[in-house]
């Protein structure tokens, strides 16, 4: 069954999300249920050093879902410079279920730039590309 879990703060109390299980490599849909990307990595708020975390330090928070070239570095190692990350701000996330649903249109996101480029430069220029299939 497609269990949908609302993420609004009141309803979500007690709901534990496992980043690996529920977020990484999940499909992301935009507000109109159009696929946007798959989550390739997560961006967390800064923790100064991993080794010595002082007691009482607030836990890191998820800042953004990442996609694009970060998939390559996740598989083969390394990390892309922060300027090259394609981010989807966590605040844009509406629901986390069998897919991650956004509250915004995919059109406006960095993550879909290659889709827009291919559409505008190649597919949109081939006759029939803008019509419904018959």
């Amino acid at each position: 069954m497609t269990a949908e879990y609302p993420l609004d703060p009141e309803a979500a109390t007690g709901r534990v999300l496992d980043g690996h299980l529920h977020l990484l490599d999940r499909q992301v849909h935009d507000v109109a249920s159009v696929p946007v990307t798959a989550v390739s990595d997560l961006e967390l708020s800064d923790v100064d050093s991993i080794e010595n975390i002082a007691p009482g330090t607030p836990a890191p928070e998820i800042v953004a879902l990442l996609s694009g070239s970060v998939l390559g570095t996740r598989i083969f190692g390394g990390r892309p410079p922060p300027s090259r990350l394609q981010r989807i701000a966590w605040s844009a996330v509406d629901q986390v279920g069998v897919v991650i649903r956004l509250a915004v249109k995919g059109e406006t996101l960095d993550a879909t730039w290659s889709e827009r480029w291919v559409r505008d430069h190649i597919i949109g220029r081939i006759p029939g590309g803008r019509h419904d299939p018959e």
Binding site: D25, Q27, P35, S67, G106, V118, G128
Partner: protein, 409 residues
């Protein structure tokens, strides 16, 4: 009435949809060398594709997610990427084989070299993928593919010694000049041809394309469980024709023309023409399915927008992948490589890659988090695990057998 029609249509398209160039070439080759002694593999393979195709349809209908999205989600990016590379390459090989098959069939019909037909076949495949609705492309090619019933008609008209055929199938008559390793090599090829992994990608993505709900599952199950076995019967009939006409003459099938000889012997030009129509339709249909599958796998892995229910501009990268795949397939054929050879290799590589597709499907179909009440029952579970054993054995044995037999020489 409308419902009966819908069920009948589904079953008929499944019959045509089961057969592709891989099934036809492998069955004809096997029939001409081993008679019907490998018919049991077709039965085994049909059972397997029934179990796993309806499972992948069920996963897609219940979760609304197609296979490759789930493969990445469950196996993680590394294993999924390795899986994607293997599946995509084998799929590309199958696209090449199918386009080559269409061109070869047109060459037989027109006496114009297949190389000249390749661009037309490729262009036609792309045009249909570009402009035609999913349901139309599925139904038209499936229904025209039904003329492959000519295989069964030919076998009856040949009026073979049925007892001998039965003895070949059931008593495993020895063929003195053939090695045991060759026998098993072709067993794996037949198994790979029947269970081609692209069927699963196509089936699960097709379920999303057509917006199946859990309530549509009974119909899809009927299509698969009646349609695929009937397709399997046609494969065995083709092997039977080859066994009756070609085996005694020691003609080993290496061209599509030889595959058609039994039809010509049985009923002359008319049956050849009808069967040729079926061959073109079935291979064209399979070319569409494999082209779409290559787009599906890549788009689903990366989370792109995909699907024929969208306009091309709404799934731009998906359509670009398919254009590139068709162009590469045509390019490979233009090198002059024998399409029949590509086909024979593609079914064996399919057999090698079977576990990559079928293990993740099974894992997900067993997972109540995705499937809820529709999770695999005990019977399906046991049958699927048994098949998994067979699939793993075939996959592991394929490469050693390929080397020992020199690819079935």
């Amino acid at each position: 009435m409308k419902r009966i029609f819908a069920v009948a249509l589904g079953i008929l398209t499944a019959i045509g949809g089961f057969l592709d160039i891989g099934d036809m070439v492998t069955n004809a080759v096997v029939g001409s060398r081993f008679g019907l002694s490998l018919a049991w593999v077709v039965v085994l393979g049909v059972g397997g594709i029934c179990v796993f195709a309806q499972m992948s349809g069920r996963v897609a209908a219940v979760s609304g997610r197609a296979t490759f999205e789930l493969i990445r989600e469950r196996l993680g990016p590394r294993a999924a990427l390795a899986n994607l590379c293997a599946s995509f390459l084998i799929n590309l090989m199958t696209v090449t084989a199918e386009i080559g098959g269409v061109a070869l069939a047109l060459e037989l019909a027109s006496s114009v070299s297949y190389l000249l037909w390749v661009p037309f076949a490729g262009l036609a495949v792309w045009l249909v993928v570009w402009r035609v609705k999913f349901s139309v492309l599925e139904n038209v090619t499936g229904l025209l593919g039904l003329s492959l019933i000519g295989f069964a008609v030919a076998l009856f008209l040949l009026d073979p010694p049925w007892l001998d055929l039965g003895r070949q199938a059931l008593q495993q008559v020895e063929f003195s000049e053939e090695q045991t390793t060759t026998y098993w090599y072709y067993a794996i090829a037949l198994f790979g041809a029947a269970m081609t992994p692209y069927e699963v990608f196509f089936f699960s993505s097709g379920a999303v394309e057509e917006g199946w709900k859990s309530t549509d599952l009974n119909q899809s199950r009927a299509n698969v469980i009646v349609g695929f076995p009937l397709g399997g019967v046609l494969s065995i009939a083709l092997a039977g024709c080859a066994a009756v006409v070609l085996l005694p003459q020691a003609i080993q099938v290496s061209t599509l023309g030889q595959l058609m000889l039994p039809m010509a012997v049985a009923a002359g030009k008319l049956l050849v023409a009808i069967v040729l129509l079926g061959v073109v339709a079935a291979t064209f249909g399979a070319a569409l399915e494999t082209t779409l599958s290559s787009g599906y796998t890549l788009a689903q892995f990366f989370g792109w927008s995909w699907g024929k229910f969208r306009r091309p501009i709404q799934a731009a990268r998906f359509h670009l992948v398919m254009i590139v795949v068709v162009i590469i397939g045509m390019g490979v054929l233009f090198t002059g490589v024998d399409p029949v050879l590509v086909t024979e290799l593609s079914v064996v590589f399919s057999a090698i890659a079977l576990p990559l597709t079928y293990i993740p499907i099974l894992i997900i179909a067993n997972d109540p988090q995705y499937m809820g009440r529709m999770v695999n029952g005990r019977v399906t579970g046991v049958v699927a695990v048994c098949y998994l054993g067979v699939i793993l054995a075939a996959s592991l044995a394929a490469i050693p057998l390929m080397i020992i037999t020199g690819a079935g020489q």
